[in-house]
Symmetry: C2
Subunit: 293 residues, 2 copies
């Protein structure tokens, strides 16, 4: 019998659904925009229905905050999100009720972290940050997710402001917190500072140094609090070679040699899995794990 | 046969050595100032020699940074410390060579975290911060220490400066980093700001609010990156009831309801183990663990 694993990458902008084989190779992958919960979940269910005979488990990596406490009444829910219509949606329940296989539920960044750790030989402690419209991080240690009562939410830590932002009294774009990492360094902060959409800003603009300063602080934080073997940065901003270089430079300056870290070209990196596939591969592996429980 | 467990709390100011029975009750405890490595280690060895017949394991919780990687050539060493004479000292090796029992090695804050988690029913994820001449934190999850390639070093993360410190261009007392948590909020920062020794500063001084602002940021960070069940603050500064209250208030303001946390009087707390005994109790338990390996 063929065994297939299911992956749902539930993003705030789009859902990516995939099934993979026992080697975690993609058999089919589809994506559609995240519209209403009803419509989006219906499409998700329809996709997996076609593979139901061979499906042995599904992992869902979702935008958050989400409830991952299996003993909670709202396990499987997206909880309080600023995204319209999506607060208190029983994401796992509404998908799983049409299937007999076990489901695994975590954050999209945890799925990505799991995928990235899996493909790196000898790596069992890793942090995966996504720098996009929001900022989040998933963290793995000894092959398991870090997180006691819930999942990590590394985007909303406070950071030291860059002199440019102090001078312009810029306190970020987060509706919850003035001066948090996400507010200061997520994609929309670039446009808020410059009036120009991030993708259109010139490579030599000083605003990249401002953003890199915050992202480097996140890397310092991850280093000191998790001591990972590698820090992976996903998302379009960090796919730019010049940004990776800027972040490494600022990280070195901020750490100031305080702790030994690997060579920065091995330590502060972009995903090893191509085409934003980290979460999908991670989900296949998590689906396998949950199917074998 | 009586089984005894040994504990060394190796601090930068003093060493506390103890032996405990199978119920982790202290049989004898001694302390002496941290002078030269030779003299201090000699006293440590002499203390445990008296109990050698019944000793089954010893745990050492040390000031850092230390090397806890058992595969490393410098495992058991205090590595690069600003404390004179103590850099590159083989602390574990020099003590253990005179004994036949197994030794466990971690940071003093990890030992404290372990002790505090152990005495709290149902708690297996906990962060222990010490706010003293330095700032450090130990973190536990599912009963194990967090830390991939080494131990956590939570004191040197960057924090958002308090307006008072921006106005006075105060960038902290850390020799490695301008504006890190330890530099801005460890005990010596109080005297650097006010010219008055911390113990002598009036309870109603505004400087406490400045310090609480940073400590609350640390609690926010621990919450977001670890999601612990409880955050314990050790050290003299936080033993003051007014400081605990200030930190809780600022924490609530900074989190702004973003994530659910327990009632703050259960979540942001001081040690459950009296008289700075957290590390000793934690070490007894770690010594037991290593003796049963």
């Amino acid at each position: 019998m063929t065994k297939l694993y299911g992956s749902v990458e539930a993003g705030g902008t789009k859902f990516v659904c995939a099934v993979g084989d026992e080697n975690f190779q993609v058999v089919e992958k589809v994506q559609f925009p995240t519209t209403t919960p009803y419509e989006t979940i219906e499409k998700t269910v329809a996709f997996f229905k076609r593979y139901e005979a061979d499906l042995v488990g599904v992992a869902i990596g979702s935008f958050g905050p989400i409830d991952i406490d299996e003993n909670s009444e709202t396990y499987g829910y997206i909880t309080k999100t600023p995204k319209p219509n999506w607060s208190n949606v029983d994401l796992v329940g509404l998908i799983a009720k049409d299937f007999k296989v076990p489901f695994y539920f975590t954050t999209d960044v945890n799925s990505s972290a799991f995928g990235e750790a899996m493909v790196r030989k000898g790596v069992d402690s890793l942090v995966y940050y996504t720098i996009g419209t929001g900022i989040g991080a998933g963290a793995i240690q000894r092959g398991e997710f870090i997180g006691g009562t819930g999942h990590t939410e590394a985007g909303h830590v406070y950071v030291a402001p860059h002199p440019h932002d102090i001078a312009h009294e810029f306190t970020g774009v987060c509706p919850f917190h003035k001066g948090c990492l996400e507010g200061m360094a997520a994609g929309p902060s670039l446009e808020a500072r410059t009036g120009i959409r991030g993708e259109l800003i010139e490579k030599n603009s000083d605003v990249w140094d401002v953003q890199a300063y915050y992202i480097a602080q996140a890397a310092v934080q991850a280093t000191l609090l998790y001591r990972p073997q590698v820090i992976v940065f996903g998302g379009g901003v960090m796919a730019q070679e010049h940004m990776l270089r800027r972040v490494r430079d600022k990280f070195a300056a901020l750490m100031n040699g305080y702790l030994p870290v690997p060579d920065l070209s091995d330590y502060i990196v972009t995903p090893a899995i191509a085409e934003n596939g980290s979460a999908t591969v991670g989900n296949f592996a998590l689906a396998k794990k949950v199917s074998e429980r």
